[in-house]
């Protein structure tokens, strides 16, 4: 796991301590007035230890560009929405996000700079975008794809701190934790259910090593893709005959929007129509976006998984 430490300015020292999420707050030597400062500048300057090292923001960013659909969701969830001036073409949630044709996959430095950002948030340092933006003195926050729930919580807290919305971000995180803990506690763990999470009808799956796999693990499910050897990676292309023989109790489809997959299309695949998940109607159509993002809406994803697990209990 990426070691993440967030250092806050003295103004916030001691006001909030996040318990149990692996985050430590350390004071900086900068002294700042406490409490009485206007909200827009409270807590700044702030230093975030992000994926691209220490990032220091002298004042509250007012022109934020997000090149990651996950982080766009987070920005709006923590109340930084009004500060966001542009998001990439994949950011489709929430609806009011200022979607542009900026590409998060093939970032164009000039197009980004043209938005006059005072903070750019990315999840992947594609084409050395961090260094390129650094050359023109645009601060960049690299918050890479989370592999654990705790990472996701930390990133939300960091984005909150970086945008001057720390209190709201902490609220979001603690709300998520409470919801997730409740879902995990409510999940029947003794059913010994197996599952297959499909990313693509080829068929590509996700193992328990991935972020999504960790979410499933909360519900005590066993992932059939874990039999794939490590060198196949966290997202192995599985053999169709292996999936058929493994005959998972539950099938979760994350290729619904992209590729139109459903119980019916699964049943039409060679050799799959006898699968018990299809016969017992245990094929769950997930929201593709929720299943690939590690932002605040992961709770909704977990809810749909939890509901499917509960339902599987009543019919089998």
């Amino acid at each position: 796991m990426r070691p993440v430490r967030t250092a806050f300015a003295g103004a916030l020292l001691g006001t909030l301590v996040l318990a149990g999420c692996g985050q430590t707050t350390t004071p900086t030597t900068t002294a700042a007035p406490t409490g009485t400062a206007p909200a827009s500048s409270a807590g700044f300057p702030v230093t975030i230890e992000a994926g691209n090292g220490k990032v220091t923001l002298a004042k509250k960013p007012e022109r934020i560009v997000s090149l990651s659909a996950t982080h766009t969701e987070t920005l709006f969830a923590v109340g930084a929405g009004p500060q966001v001036v542009a998001v990439d073409d994949q950011s489709n949630y929430p609806a009011q996000a200022p979607k542009t044709d900026l590409s998060g996959f093939k970032p164009n430095v000039e197009a980004i700079v043209a938005k006059k950002p005072d903070l750019v948030i990315v999840s992947d340092d594609i084409d050395h975008i961090v260094a390129e933006l650094g050359k023109v003195n645009v601060p960049v926050l690299l918050e890479p794809a989370a592999t654990k729930l705790d990472d996701a919580y930390e990133e939300i807290a960091e984005i909150g701190a970086a945008t001057g919305n720390k209190a709201k971000a902490d609220e979001v995180v603690s709300g998520m934790k409470t919801a997730m803990d409740k879902l995990a506690a409510d999940a029947p763990k003794d059913k010994k259910l197996t599952y297959y999470h499909e990313l693509d009808q080829t068929p590509y799956a996700a193992t328990s090593q991935t972020f999504i796999g960790q979410v499933y693990a909360m519900f005590g499910l066993t992932n059939i893709a874990d039999k794939a050897p490590d060198q196949a990676g966290g997202y192995p292309k599985l053999s169709a005959e292996f999936v058929a023989q493994a005959d998972p109790d539950l099938i979760f489809l994350a290729d619904v929007k992209c590729c139109g997959q459903s119980k019916d299309t699964l049943a039409k695949r060679p050799g799959w129509k006898g699968l018990s998940a299809i016969k017992n109607d245990q094929v769950v159509q997930l929201d593709d976006d929720l299943a690939s993002r590690w932002g605040p809406r992961v709770v909704q994803l977990a809810e749909s998984i939890g509901a499917a697990v509960a339902k599987a209990g009543t019919t089998s």
Partner: protein, 344 residues
Amino acid sequence: MTRQAGPSRARPLWVVCALGVLAMCMIAGLLDGAADISPWQVVLQAVDWLPFVHVDSGLAPVEQGLLFELRLPRVLVAAVVGGLLAMAGAGYQGVFRNPLADPYLLGAAAGAGLAATAAIVLLPGSAGSIPLAAFLGAVGGVFLAYTLGNTAGRAGGTATLVLAGVAVTSFLTAIQAFIQQLKVEELQRIYSWILGDVGGGWDQFWLVLPYAAVSAVLLLLHGRMLDVLSVGDEEATSLGVRAARVRFTVLLAASLATAAAVAVSGLIGFVGIVIPHIVRRLAGGSYRIVLPLSLIGGGAFLVLADLIARTVIAPAELPIGVVTMFVGAPFFVGVLRMTRRAAT
């Protein structure tokens, strides 16, 4: 190319041997896979499929289904596709009198790649449109290269045709890359199509079979003509062979074979270049023997490659194109070395 053909009476023997190898590869392909089924049960199940025989293989219905619906058609598709690609490669090598010619030389791969990419991007969810698009794209790519080659150079001139193929390939590949950049989120699906897959079930098999039959018959009938062409156009003409027409027919049949193979399996590389060379080294250079042996040998090779692809990291799979290129690339270098030696 100028290697002497083997004695003609040895020909049936070679074909019988090759068919034996193909049969063994196919049986091996049927016996092993990612699903944990003992070979003995597969044998019992195969006997059970025979008419009027009933044997209890002890396999669950799902397992019987996966054997019949997944593994059996997969082995058959691999055999047909491998055979088509190798035979098309031999045909192209004969037409161009160039040992490095391959089925994708004239823009077939680029055309298929572009059309499949467009289908993936524009028609999400309809996987059935990809084979048709790839087929049309492959035919279109070859047609474009052929038309350009003929208008740019002398009719029937092979060098101009190859250059036109290179130009068409670059151009179509550029458009494909452009579309990919616009729809980067589809990269993985495009990429996995390009690396090839023969696991589409019986539909794929029935789709490819008629084209396979037509192109195989056409190509096999022209083996003798290609032998005559190999001594040079003037000599061929003096022997009463119309070089341009033979060349056109063989190109057409080889392109049809390529397009059919690409349509069901994606772009599987190197089969078309490796197999004809192995055959030539073993059985001599006469196209009367190279073409049928390539057909059989290519099938055997691809069945084995697919068996490796789906078992070596089971239950995960390697794309079959990775396996064929892994075997093919070193061989290709060997061919290059040998042809250089022959040329100097």
